[in-house]
Point group: C2
């Protein structure tokens, strides 16, 4: 049923013929200007699709790495743990983004990836991807860019965690989400959070109470309207201003 890869056991694995060439997220996850025959080869590479329910793990710390995953639809978080029980959410990922790059280094995953809503992913066997990227230069280069972008993103999070106060962190977080929803054709001003206050807090290096209080303050100040997980951004510029407020 499920071969070498342990996490596949826990979930329904559906082998469906998927085609990158048809995927409406291809601008987000593929290089531009592929030749038709290159696209065809890529389609055969991305051969397996999988559906996860909310709360399911895509992979866990320690799982053998053999594929990277492209999110077709849905929403994920990744987190790392230390022995004493503390954990840190390292990112939230949505459609068109890749998961699993952390595993290349040691051939074991170093973080957990958990679906925050029912999600569809494409598994891309890594050694095949390396092989194909030796032949399709634009694929190779694109992949390098994707990894590099992840490094740059991480630097942004370090900046956030290292230098910003609670208000700034949360404002940055909302603006980032808004911008990513926009890029996917959703409203930039209105969306549902897929994660809890605790998960937001973990990502931002804050306690859940601080997140909650800061949301309330933003609401009082007319920057946003919050109703549980439903967020409406009323004053983008106000949020942006909060971020650059020196000190």
């Amino acid at each position: 049923m499920s071969p070498q890869n342990s996490q596949l056991k826990v979930s329904t694995l559906t082998l469906v013929k998927t085609a990158c060439s048809n995927c409406n997220l291809r601008e987000l996850c593929l290089p531009f200007g592929l030749e038709p025959n290159e696209m065809e080869r890529l389609d055969t590479l991305v051969s397996s699709r999988r559906r996860l329910k909310r709360g399911e793990y895509l992979y866990r710390v320690g799982d053998t790495f053999d594929a990277i995953f492209a999110i077709r639809s849905g929403f994920f978080k990744t987190d790392v743990l230390i022995e004493d029980g503390r954990d840190q959410v390292t990112g939230f990922q949505m459609g068109g983004e890749l998961l699993g790059l952390d595993g290349i280094s040691t051939e074991q995953h170093t973080c957990n990836a958990i679906a925050l809503e029912d999600s569809d992913i494409c598994a891309i066997p890594f050694s095949q991807m390396e092989a194909l990227s030796r032949e399709i230069h634009s694929l190779q280069h694109h992949f390098h860019k994707v990894m590099s972008r992840e490094i740059v993103r991480d630097h942004g999070v370090m900046m956030l965690l290292g230098t910003m106060r609670a208000e700034e962190r949360l404002a940055a977080f909302l603006l980032n989400l808004s911008q990513r929803f926009t890029a996917r054709g959703y409203s930039h001003a209105e969306f549902f959070l897929r994660m809890t206050r605790e998960e937001i807090g973990s990502y931002l290096g804050l306690k859940l109470e601080t997140v909650s209080r800061t949301f309330s303050r933003f609401q009082e100040d007319g920057h946003i309207a919050v109703q549980q997980k439903h967020i409406r951004i009323l004053d983008v510029n106000g949020l942006k201003a909060l971020m650059n407020r020196r000190n």
Copy 2:
């Protein structure tokens, strides 16, 4: 004198015949088990060497990216800035480590890399590296591992910034340095810091005064002996214990 690469102008560029095959750091920066002829091709790839004085920039935010850099000797920091003047040190790099991976994404560097002591680096033209890695599988895979390792390292920093208190951060920092010095054949218990308290603080998300105070506390508690930049670790286990102290 200095071709396309703008930053080369500011520094003495010495084109020396360098050979990865002779480099005593090759276990740190190259894949294992290269064939002699592969090693030879790699040697021609890494054709330019450069020497930087303390305080010099290897590259700056906005510089065009066209090469990654391997540190032959010396010590660097990388940092990112935001408009209002705040900055965040994103890492300290030493011999055998790579710099510049952040630039692949947009073909512009997104952080500054600054020598903290006189240093020697090898420049590796990136497009040539991509070309060669299409032919030498182990080089390709090694490069992917290096990028992935950087992502994993960044997650560690996020954990540090997001969940640890001052003592834990500094303990983690010292232990990390110690371990990296050890890997390079230096003493694990005694070393000189190449960076100021302010730079340590920026990396750890603390103010310089907090760093200084925490060093003093570690000294009072007999964990280390500090004299300005000279550090002696007296009680490794004590430091390790500090890190896992719940709460």
